[in-house]
Structures are given as C-alpha cells and as structure tokens.
C-alpha cells in the first residue's frame, strides 16, 4: 500500500511537470499577445516591447520556466496579468466557491443516480429499468449550456422564481446556487445511475442472492443486506472519477450564470493569456484529477478485499 501511494505520488509530480511544460510551450507560440492583452490593441510595438522586456518576457523560455517552477515549488505562484494581483489571491477564494458548487452538485447527483440505479438494476429489463435507462440517455444528451438555457427560460423568465445570475454580489445566497446545481446534476446523474444499474444487475444474478431469495428472506431484506453492499462498490469509483468531469462542467455553468468560481477564472485566464494564472489552474486541475483517482483506487481496495495492489 505504501509503495503504491509513493508510486502514485511520483506519477503525479511527473504529470504535473509535463503538463506545466506543455502549457508553457503552448503559450510560448504568441508571446506578443500577452502584451496586447495587457496594454490594449492600440499600442505601438515599442510600448509592447518595453513592457515585455520589463516583465522579463525576452529571457529565454527555459530560464523563465525554471524561474516560475522555482517560485511555484515554494508557494509563490506569480502575478496575474489579468487581475493585477498575486495569483493565489484570486485562486483560493475562487476554488472555495467551486468547491461549494461541486460538493452540492455531486451530493445530489450521487443521491439521485444511486437511488435510481439501484431501482433500475433490481430487475433487469423491467419497466423501471427501461424508464431509468432512457431518461439517463435523455438527460446526458443535453449539453450543459442547453440545459442552463432551458432551465433559465422556465424558472427565471416564465415562473420568475429564481434569479438568472449567480454572481453572489451581496454575499453568499443559496437561492442563486439552485440553477447551477440543477444543470450539473442533470448532466451528471445519468452516468452514476447507469454504472450503479450495471453493477446492481450483475449482483442480482449471483448465487448468494438466489440463495437468499430461495431461503425465503423478504425481498427488501435481500436488497438491503445482501445486494446493496456489493453493488455499491463500482459506483463509488465512478463517483470519485466524476469529480474530474465536474471540473469541466463547472466552466460552462459558471460562465453561463456568472458564478465566481474556478471554472470561470480559468476561462478568463485562457482568454487573456494570463500564463501564471493558467499554470496555477492547470496544476490544481491535475492535482484534483490524480488525487481523486488515487482515492478511488484506495477506496476500491478497502471496499473490495478481493483486490490487492502488488
């Protein structure tokens, strides 16, 4: 187990290094663009060059990369050219906002997905099964920006129940969180439900379930005591991996509802070629991806003793 975790940690560091180099090289394609974004399109070449020189953009790329890397390791993420403040000043509050949004969305998506998945998988091919499967395909086919538009036109403009933007200008307001969460849940519950359904359906065909049914246990007890425990192992992994997907989903949702979170931050940083901000966001994304995967693997071995890492 310890060896496994050390190896995972090593892979994570290596992945982060490679990703940071790739991002750096990608933004290297158009260095002058940075100056244009900062100084505006109506500046002369001399002004841009002056700005670039003063901010060290004319140093060799490798030197700049190493300088960034050295600072990053000791916790100095550099300055954001878009927000004109240190990257960490904007990054952490935004990340906390997205954490709230993502946690609430994941909770409801898991709740709905697991419940409906178990109900569908109890009797494969039955009416509930068809119903859940078809609605899962239906809702996962709607892109986030489309469901955001559907929900907004219904709840904001027709019923006028909910606010159309989630800027949280006057402090935190749970009502503004409703629409973004709904969009994320609509897109995500289907995957969890389909995985749970498949896992549950498989468990229901095993011999120990047949034995439990044949020895005359009440059906509810068979499901609760015998089926559920084994059927919920696989969905656990899926839910953990779903966190990585949520990170993509929140970008659209946050842009659509003007929610001040990590996704909107990354979007703004990319549009403005704010390299240090992009690098920091990219590192957070990779960290989250590898961590959730590792937790999924560890949780899986814990839940399912038949699997051991060598």
């Amino acid at each position: 187990m310890l060896i496994f975790m050390v190896r995972r940690f090593g892979t994570m560091i290596l992945t982060m290094l490679v990703v940071s180099i790739l991002v750096f090289l990608l933004l290297e394609i158009n260095v002058e663009g940075v100056a244009i974004k900062v100084l505006g399109p109506y500046t002369s070449v001399e002004q841009r060059n002056l700005w670039l020189e003063r901010n060290g953009y004319f140093d060799p790329a490798i030197l700049r990369y190493l300088r960034w890397l050295g600072n990053f390791v000791i916790g100095d993420f550099g300055n954001s050219v878009r927000f004109k403040v240190p990257v960490s000043d904007v990054l952490w509050p935004r990340l906390a906002n997205t954490g709230i949004l993502g946690a609430v969305a994941l909770f409801f998506a898991s709740l709905i997905g697991l419940t409906l998945g178990v109900i569908a998988g109890m009797r494969e091919g039955g009416g509930h099964d068809r119903g859940v499967s078809v609605s899962a395909i239906l809702t996962t086919s709607v892109p986030e920006f489309a469901s955001a538009t559907f929900l907004a036109s219904f709840f904001v403009f027709y019923l006028q129940w909910l606010p159309g933007t989630s800027g949280m200008i006057d402090g935190f307001d749970p009502v503004q969180l409703v629409l973004p969460v709904m969009v994320l849940v609509i897109y995500d519950w289907g995957y969890i439900a389909r995985m749970t359904r498949a896992s549950m359906a498989e468990v229901m065909t095993t011999h120990y379930i047949r034995t439990a049914v044949l020895k005359g246990l009440p059906y509810g007890q068979v499901i609760r005591r015998h089926a559920l425990r084994n059927a919920l192992i696989a969905p656990f992994t899926v839910i953990m991996l779903q966190i990585n997907w949520l990170l993509s989903g929140v970008i659209v949702v946050e842009v659509a509802f003007a929610y001040k979170g990590f996704g909107a931050l990354l979007y703004e940083a990319s549009l403005n070629q704010d390299i240090y901000l992009i690098e920091a966001c990219a590192m957070v994304a990779v960290f989250v991806a590898v961590m959730t995967q590792t937790l999924a693997d560890i949780g899986y071995t814990y839940l399912n003793p038949r699997i051991r890492f060598s």
Binding site: T15, I137, P143, T149, A152, S153, V156, G164, A285, A289
Partner: protein, 294 residues
C-alpha cells in the same frame, strides 16, 4: 461461378457484410429512433438551401417573436436574432457546420488513436509504457480545460477545433484499442499470421483491427455525440467557428443575452443540438444492445 461449382461458398464482399451487420440495428427500437434522428439532421444539412426560408446571414426585423411575418414576405417561424437573421434558417445551415466538423474531428482522433493503441497493445514493453504515460498525462486533464487552453491560444477556426479534438480524444481511443488488442493478440489466427512471417503492422491492421471493430463503432457513436457537445460548448464560450456563419452554440450565447425580450428565442438552437446528441447516443445504445445479443 467456378467457386460455387467447386462447392466452396463464395465469400461475401466486405461492404455487403458491413451493410448486413449495420442492418441489425432494426432489431433495437431505441437504435432505430437514434438512427432516424441522425438521418433527419443529415438530410437537413444536405438539403439546407432548399429547406431554409431565408439565407442564413440575411438581416431583417431584429428580435422578432416566433411566427412573426418578415418584411418582404415569409414567416420567421422561430423568430430572429438581434440582427434580424432568421433563427430557423440559421439552425438549418448550422447543422452543416456541426455535421461537417464533428465527424471530421472524430475521424482524425481515430486515425491518431488507433495506431497508437495497436502499437501499445501489440508491441507492449517500452512502446506501451511511453504511449500509456503520454495518454495518462493528457487524460488526467479535464477535457474542456484542455480545449479552452488550446483554442484560446491557437485561435478559433474549424481546423483548430479538429486539431484540439484530435489531441484531447486520441488518448481515450488509444486506451480502448489497447485493451482490445491485449485480448485479441493471443488468438490463434494472430499466432498463425506470425508463423507465416507477416509484418507486425500487417498483423495489427489486417488481423487484429477488423476483429476489434464492434466496440469501436459503438464508441465512435458515443464520441460523435460528445464532440457535438464540445463544438457547441466552444461556440457557447465564444471559441467556436468564427461569425457570421451560423454555429448552434454561438447562436445560443447570442440569443441568451436577449432572453429578457423573449426567453424562447435561445431555446430553439438548444433543442437542435440536444436532439442531435440524443440521436447519436441512442444509436450507440442500440448498436451496443444488438452487438451484445449474439
């Protein structure tokens, strides 16, 4: 004829066998619905000039409600945008963009991903280690983040969308192909080909790949749906195909700003894109159902 005279059944041409295999989709009603939806949009895209009541970029009465009459005759069945362009016509012409770039991008991703997966699964060893590490690096990144960084840097255009989708999807395809090859490489016909002294790439492409086609076709359908979502999302974020040509995602983000005037206007392109994705997903589900049956 000589074949039949000798009592050996003639081998069907591969095209005929493919058509016969594809026709099995009739057995799944879910698959048939998906097929019908996709076919509908393909026909719309092909016959766009005949179906569209207005040229897609012709301006008229701005922000007309659905069903309003146009200035020079004709009806804006789905209303108009802020420049007075007919939404229905733009949805019809927009289907051309989506149905050109989504299959093109998916095809390119497969052209890159399949050889990588074949090489990793068949050769194993160092090749596998290197290719798997590269794909893990790319896959550890949330896809949309990758798209946004790539497109924001190299600029928004059809070609760049194809490049970005290829870059981000090829690793996933590689992983699937690799898994299939690891299973297939131990089959007897592969050993037979190896004994005959066939070259590795001939074995990979002629012996292994055709036998891995089933799961790959299902995956391609799902991936097509996902690429449609991606193109729409990029358009919504202002990173899609450049204006003025219609792009469903871009239309949504433009019309959304005028939801206060008429919230219904932005809903129509959303329905268009959702239905196309649904078509691909149902088709994939039907194909999977049919392929698991035997």
């Amino acid at each position: 004829m000589t074949d039949q005279a000798a009592g050996i059944p003639r081998r069907e041409s591969s095209l005929l066998r493919f058509v016969r295999g594809a026709a099995l989709i009739r057995e799944s009603w879910v698959g048939m619905i998906g097929f019908a939806i996709v076919l509908f949009w393909v026909l719309v895209a092909v016959f766009a000039p005949l179906l569209a009541p207005f040229p897609p970029n012709q301006t008229g009465l701005p922000l007309s409600p659905p069903g309003a009459a146009g200035m020079t005759g004709g009806v804006y069945w789905l209303g108009t945008d802020q420049l007075g362009r007919d939404t229905l016509s733009r949805i019809i012409y927009g289907s051309r963009q989506v149905l050109l770039y989504a299959p093109l991008a998916t095809l390119c991703a497969y052209l890159v991903g399949i050889p990588m997966g074949l090489a990793a699964g068949y050769r194993r060893g160092l090749t596998d280690d290197i290719l798997s590490f590269i794909s893990n690096v790319i896959l550890s990144f949330p896809v949309l983040v990758l798209y946004i960084i790539i497109i924001a840097t190299i600029g928004a255009s059809g070609t760049n969308i194809v490049i970005a989708v290829t870059f981000a999807s090829a690793p996933g395809i590689m992983r699937i192909v690799r898994g299939l090859v690891l299973d297939l490489r131990n089959r007897e016909y592969v050993f037979a080909a190896e004994t005959r002294g066939e070259s590795p790439w001939r074995i990979m492409l002629v012996e292994i790949l055709p036998n891995a086609r089933g799961p790959l076709i299902v995956d391609a359908c799902l991936r097509l749906g996902y690429v449609v979502i991606t193109i729409g999302t990029l358009g919504f974020l202002g990173l899609g195909l450049p204006p003025p040509d219609p792009d469903w995602g871009g239309m949504v983000s433009e019309l959304r700003q005028f939801a206060i005037v008429d919230p219904l206007l932005a809903v129509f392109p959303c329905i268009a894109i959702s239905s196309l994705v649904l078509g691909f997903n149902l088709l994939a589900d039907g194909l999977r159902e049919v392929s698991l049956r035997d």
